[in-house]
């Protein structure tokens, strides 16, 4: 997704390994981030995403590998080079916000500028500018211990961008906010990041958040990268069982490929004997025994173009508001189906399940 191919990546991580004693937290991670890009590290807790981020910030000492920031090597296992955090010039928003309770909002935001020995007037104008961006200008003189969670979050963001860093690291910045505020801040953060063109690496365990704000998503599991891709890629073409399961709601349908189908599809027979047409995987070597099918991509009733149509019975209906989740009995067991609230079916009614072969991803 390099928007300007002439621009070298802002962050480059190669073969990164971080060990704590015998435990390997990060195991050979490798990726690069182009200028202006927002990339998320997504994964369950303990997958090594935060450790990777902290290693880039210089807060964690890796065991081996290379980290380059703005084309400058800041860590190299082979060269035994490890530039301290304060000399790396990146900025970071912490999960706990890390707002210093003994300083006012102004002093918190001004910290990075004062460290850089900017003249007083310039410090003041910069602080005013960023506080304005996060709509906290009215709070400048407040003691920061008197702020709410959402306000602390805004101050933390303002502090991180105040000294105009070109790389900002976000360590689960929204995880301590309630759901509604989190959704609002997500939009604001993305706006801010686009407006200032800040290269960002963003750690989260919330797949919805990752899909919503990222240019690219890196899914991690057990210290390794499972898949790197755009949010659409990750959702529509999960590369592994783990990604399909962790991101979004997917049905895992076991079975086997029985041969060629029409129009370049493959024929797939599920356990229980349903015959499906599925898309041919990009990598022809995939010898999968399971397909992943997103619950949102299954329709009720025969639709034009959909080449799969299987009869089923609605077992259970759960109304979620924004969608309805159905549990449908079908030959291969049970299937989760999500439909908009306009498509209301009673429990026990017979339906035809139809879905496109391209949405059946062989794993």
């Amino acid at each position: 997704m390099n928007r300007d191919p002439n621009n070298a990546p802002r962050i480059e991580v190669r073969d990164l390994v971080v060990k704590y004693g015998d435990a390997t937290a990060v195991d050979g991670v490798q990726f690069s981030i182009a200028p202006g890009e927002l990339v998320t590290l997504l994964g369950p807790s303990g997958c090594g995403k935060t450790t990777t981020l902290r290693a880039i910030a210089g807060l964690e000492t890796p065991s081996s590998g290379t980290i380059r920031l703005n084309s400058e090597t800041v860590y190299s296992g082979t060269e035994r080079k490890n530039i301290p955090a304060e000399k790396r010039g990146v900025s970071m928003v912490f999960q706990s916000y890390a707002i210093w309770p003994h300083m006012t909002v102004f002093e918190n935001v001004a910290y990075g500028l004062k460290v850089r020995k900017l003249p007083k007037a310039e410090v003041a104008s910069n602080v005013a500018r960023v506080l304005d961006m996060v709509q906290m200008q009215a709070y400048a003189d407040r003691p920061s211990s008197k702020l709410s969670g959402g306000q602390q979050q805004r101050v933390a963001v303002a502090r991180a961008i105040a000294f105009s860093p070109n790389v900002v690291l976000f360590d689960e910045p929204l995880s301590n906010l309630d759901a509604k505020l989190r959704a609002e801040m997500r939009v604001e953060l993305r706006e801010l990041q686009r407006r200032l063109d800040i290269t960002s690496l963003y750690v989260t365990h919330d797949q919805e958040e990752a899909l919503a704000i990222s240019d690219r998503v890196i899914v991690m599991n057990g210290g390794k990268i499972e898949q790197i891709g755009s949010p659409e890629d990750i959702y529509d073409r999960p590369a592994s069982h783990f990604v399909a399961d962790f991101v979004g709601s997917a049905n895992m349908i076991p079975g086997k490929v029985t041969g060629e189908g029409p129009n370049g599809t493959l024929a797939f027979e599920t356990q229980g004997g349903a015959q499906l047409r599925i898309a041919r995987p990009a990598d022809a070597r995939v010898q999968g025994t399971v397909i992943a099918l997103r619950s949102a991509y299954i329709h009720f009733g025969q639709t034009a173009g959909a080449q799969n149509g299987v009869a089923g019975t609605i077992h259970r209906r759960m109304f979620h508001g924004d969608f309805i989740q159905y549990v449908v009995d079908w030959p291969a067991g049970q299937l989760i189906v999500r439909r908009p609230p306009t498509e209301l079916f009673d429990e026990g009614s017979a339906v035809v399940l139809s879905f496109d072969p391209t949405h059946c991803v062989l794993l």
Binding site: E86, M92, F94, A98, H102, Y111, V115, R159
Partner: protein, 558 residues
């Protein structure tokens, strides 16, 4: 490397100095305990286990020690449990104030307690016994110069320790554990028997063992109340063996090391129970359990809670005050003759005046030098990733298991055998205080260091601050209230120190604690009461400042 080289040097230096301070006296003790030749010659001419073998012969001392320790542990745990239950689980009026006052008995010290109860319940002359006899009865109400008396005084003091430990385990219990029992249909009583008590048992058990270990090594009460009746426990026997003529250092060292061993085992046991006996549902999180509505019982319970404060603090202080202002202590009003002479004597008398000045000097300098050093150690142990930090923590915590008296003995023996003329000077006392209070200082500062979220420091680094800049602008300002509290605690501990001082005080380096004891043994109880009151006032002023700082600290973090 992120950690600059000079940090490693500082760590090595601290480890070396503290290691020497802690281990050196203990090593001398070990050598001396196996010296069966002339006990005054160093290095020993003859080695053997004779000193240990001799300990079996006077098993009386050991049974005495165990007797006092057992009685007072039982009482202390009962006091602590009742106070903890009333103050954390019942809805009595004025709970918060009472909870704060519960710290006071701890600052009273066993020495002050023993003097005060000696004044109250000494045979014939004790104030309560005077009252008792004034009714015409020809015997005493109670004689405090007995094992029961020693145990009583110690129990009042250790009751606070038990209270702190037991109430912590009560507070850390999630109230929903009890609520779910009630919801499932169990009665209040059944819930208490089946849920509450099993959950707090590990806390009570470890408090019991901890208090018992402290009792084994306690000195002041057994000294003040035991010596007149020739009732000796291990600590007072060490004192006797060291200061009698000719001194039997070998015997003292063997006694001291046996005591040290016993304490290490019991404290280890307490830790083991604390770690493995507690249930995972009891988290580090503090809950405020919904207090039980006790109805009409609330006034009896409230008076019970106040009763402890009265008996442990108010009554002893009142007795000391009444005594110190009289020529001859009495409660018979027509016979009272009030005077300020005792206080005049206390501050003027030949060597006693300097004792107060020396103690103040020591308190201020030990605290001032100790806090920065221990602060750096706490930061290294709990914040850095340096490989030596675990060793450093162990070294710094060793003195916690050594009775201060035994440590004093080790230092005495170590420094009279070294050509550096430190023995008999304030320097040696200063070194001793710093070493024995290492665990106290480290625990206090560590509590604050751990409270400060690590990301507050990391954020400063990411913002571009160097290590020194981060320390100056973020770490130290955040730690300041905790450091002030640690300073005051070290000051208080130094001013009231007795155990290590008895052996290390010289004719030109007198300090308060031993001076009070000497005056009690050789001069009048009225004079001793005046001295004890002055010491208590010094300590309470420091405590008052500490409470104020603590309150401001509480306000800042909210």
């Amino acid at each position: 490397m992120r950690v600059p080289g000079f940090q490693t040097w500082i760590m090595m230096l601290l480890l070396l100095v503290c290691g020497a301070l802690v281990i050196y006296p203990l090593a001398f003790l070990i050598v001396e305990s196996i010296n069966v030749g002339d006990p005054q010659i160093f290095p020993p001419e003859e080695y053997g286990l004779g000193n240990y073998a001799n300990l079996y012969e006077d098993s009386k001392i050991i049974t005495n020690t165990l007797l006092v320790a057992c009685i007072s542990t039982v009482f202390a745990v009962i006091f602590g449990f009742i106070q903890a239950w009333i103050l954390t689980r019942t809805a009595i009026p004025g709970r918060e104030r009472l909870e704060r006052l519960m710290e006071l008995p701890y600052y009273m010290t066993p020495l002050i307690g023993a003097l005060a109860w000696g004044v109250l319940l000494g045979p014939k002359t004790g104030l309560i016994n005077q009252l008792w006899r004034s009714t015409g009865i020809e015997s005493d109400a109670f004689n405090i110069y007995t094992p029961w008396g020693i145990a009583w005084v110690m129990a009042l003091f250790e009751g606070t320790v038990a209270f702190v430990m037991i109430s912590a385990s009560m507070k850390s219990m999630d109230p929903s554990l009890e609520e779910s029992s009630r919801v499932l249909g169990a009665s209040k009583l059944r819930t208490m028997l089946k849920i509450t008590i099993p959950l707090v048992t590990p806390g009570i058990l470890s408090a019991t063992i901890f208090v018992f270990a402290e009792m084994l090594g306690s000195f002041a009460a057994a000294f003040v109340l035991g010596i007149p009746g020739r009732f000796y426990v291990v600590t007072t026997s060490i004192w006797q063996a060291t200061l009698s003529y000719p001194p039997d250092y070998g015997r003292a060292a063997a006694l001291g090391l046996s005591l040290f061993g016993a304490m290490v085992i019991t404290l280890g046991l307490a830790r083991l129970i604390m770690r493995h006996g507690t249930y995972t549902t009891i988290t580090g999180k503090a809950f405020r359990p919904r207090p039980m509505d006790v109805g009409a019982m609330k006034y009896p319970l409230m008076s019970l809670a106040w009763g402890y404060i009265f008996v442990a603090v108010v009554l002893p202080l009142a007795a000391l005050t009444l005594t110190s202002f009289q020529q001859f202590a009495t409660v018979i009003i027509p016979q009272m003759k009030f005077t300020l002479a005792n206080f005049e004597t206390a501050v003027q008398m030949g060597s006693l005046g300097p004792a107060f000045i020396n103690s103040m000097t020591l308190g201020v300098s030990v605290a001032t030098i100790g806090v920065p050093i221990i602060g750096i150690m706490a930061w290294i142990i709990y914040r850095s990733t340096m490989p030596g930090r675990v060793v450093m923590e162990y070294v710094a915590m060793v003195p916690a298991a050594v009775p201060r008296l035994v440590f004093g003995l080790g230092l005495l023996w170590a420094w009279i055998n070294i050509p550096i003329p430190l023995y008999g000077t304030l320097w040696l006392l200063g070194i001793a205080y710093f070493t024995v209070f290492l665990p106290l200082g480290l625990r206090t500062i560590a509590g604050v260091v751990l409270q400060v979220d690590k990301s507050l420091e990391e954020c400063a680094r990411v913002c571009g601050a160097s290590w020194t800049h981060q320390m100056r602008t973020v770490t130290l300002p955040l730690l300041r209230p905790g450091l002030i509290a640690a300073w005051l605690l070290l000051f208080i501990a130094s001013v009231r120190e007795l155990g290590a001082s008895v052996f290390l005080m010289g004719p030109h380096s007198k300090v308060i604690g031993p001076s009070i004891v000497n005056s009690w043994l050789t001069a009048s109880s009225e004079l001793s009461a005046a001295m004890a009151l002055i010491q208590t006032v010094m300590v309470f002023i420091a405590v008052a400042i500490m409470f104020r700082v603590a309150r401001r600290m509480g306000g800042a973090t909210e």
